[in-house]
Point group: C2
Chain length 233, copies 2
DNA sequence: GCTTATTCGCGTCAGGACGACGATAAAACC
DNA sequence: GGTTTTATCGTCGTCCTGACGCGAATAAGC
């Protein structure tokens, strides 16, 4: 709530940024979008992409804009949601910064383009990204984003955000296996996914991936929550 | 992430506040803490309590400080977690404000004290609070906080945050019924709650509420997640 | 063409959790 | 003592689960 007696001297202004945890699937492996910092502090370290919120844009709009800029794709398909805010007083030595983190899930995208403030940008396997120390508190942002994604796969159709508009049951299963880091029984997974009413709509066509029986092609239905959920235990 | 070429003219500063959705149980009815605004804008309207984040405190610390100030209790027992951030450009006509919302769950507390910037403060039944238009975008904050609380009761021991250190199964059930707004079968609820390993630890004593058989008194165990969950369907 | 490997999709089975509800236990109230 | 109230335990049929067998439909090798 905004106090009526706002005194700019007593409450110095904050800088507000958005940081993005962008996840995608490349060759069955979960990747996260990272940029290499080209300036102090944390010069040379890998960091999550992000930037300042502009005066006239909402937080969601700022996240969407940054996502498009950093991936080089105009309208990024997939999913974008707020993750949380991180504003410890010493997270940036230069000034007081509050960062609003966003989680993005996208299908496989082309190689990213480095922004003006980054030396380079790349898709990094999540396992590698978690091994190296990231800039600022981005280790925690990444961990929180991963946990959010893992939890949401259980009760939402969000796994489809990693796929194109038409997908097979095996596509979905590959997403779950990559995000959860665990193999799933193809037969039980097939039963559960096709058992959620309204989740998958048959297109009538099939897709052959080379070897094996062709898989039925589905479009995503309009359900928002999975009943019953796909549990991880 | 923070750009090296930060230009204060290009990126005017933001005010950062914390707003609190404080829920408690009073007489079996879910209440939320509201304050009546004593200044423009939204003078005379009810709003969620909150205030500015100070230069040297973290977001969590600011939320805890405001919670203590607005309730008048030094160390508020219960639970406090971040809900999300709300920063639409026009949410406050005076300046660009980003508000970090927090959700607090507390046992029954004394009547609140009005802060300096509020005409008065009161516990308001949630059903009443949702009927009147709250200041700023606080309708949405309240709705989001309620949904978060309802969802978290399913898979976390958070319902105990509404109770004291010693509680009965009926106490817990009353929390679930008040938050979900739905009657639950006492027998099935008892089986489910006592069936979660490590959730409830017997104290060996009982508590009599007047009529009826005395209930076993429990302390909360140290489980973080409920396996299996208490579902609402 | 025939076999083999591979993937897809369906079916079976036992175990566990569910909602609905009957039955018993231990207190207060009349 | 009898009734009411609340707590706790038990039963039953249904549904979801993981483990796993099996046929169907394709590509690759011979």
């Amino acid at each position: 709530m905004t106090s009526p007696g706002y005194d700019p001297a007593a409450y110095p202004p904050f800088a507000v940024t958005v940081d993005l945890v962008v996840l995608t699937l490349r060759g069955g492996v979960l990747h996260v979008l990272l940029v290499e910092r080209g300036a102090q502090p944390w010069l040379g370290h890998w960091a999550l992409p992000g930037g300042f919120v502009r005066p006239e844009e909402s937080l969601d709009a700022a996240a969407a804009r940054e996502l498009a800029e950093e991936t080089g794709v105009r309208d990024v398909p997939g999913h974008l949601e707020q993750l949380g805010s991180y504003g410890d007083p010493d997270r940036d030595p230069r000034m007081r910064v509050v960062s609003v983190a966003y989680l993005a899930l996208a299908p496989d995208l082309p190689e990213p383009v480095a922004g003006t403030d980054a030396a380079r940008a790349a898709w990094v396997p999540v396992a590698d990204a978690q091994r190296r120390p990231l800039a600022f508190d981005h280790d925690r942002l990444l961990a929180d984003g991963l946990e959010r994604a893992r939890a949401k796969l259980e009760y939402s159709p969000l796994a489809a955000a990693f796929c194109g508009p038409e997908l097979t049951v095996a596509d979905l299963r590959q997403v779950y296996e990559a995000v959860w880091g665990r193999a799933l029984d193809p037969r039980n997974f097939h039963r559960k996914v096709t058992g959620v009413p309204g989740l998958l709509v048959e297109t009538g066509r099939t897709r052959s991936e080379g070897r094996g029986r062709p898989a039925t092609l589905y479009r995503l239905g309009d359900v928002r929550t999975l009943h019953p959920p796909i549990t991880r235990d």
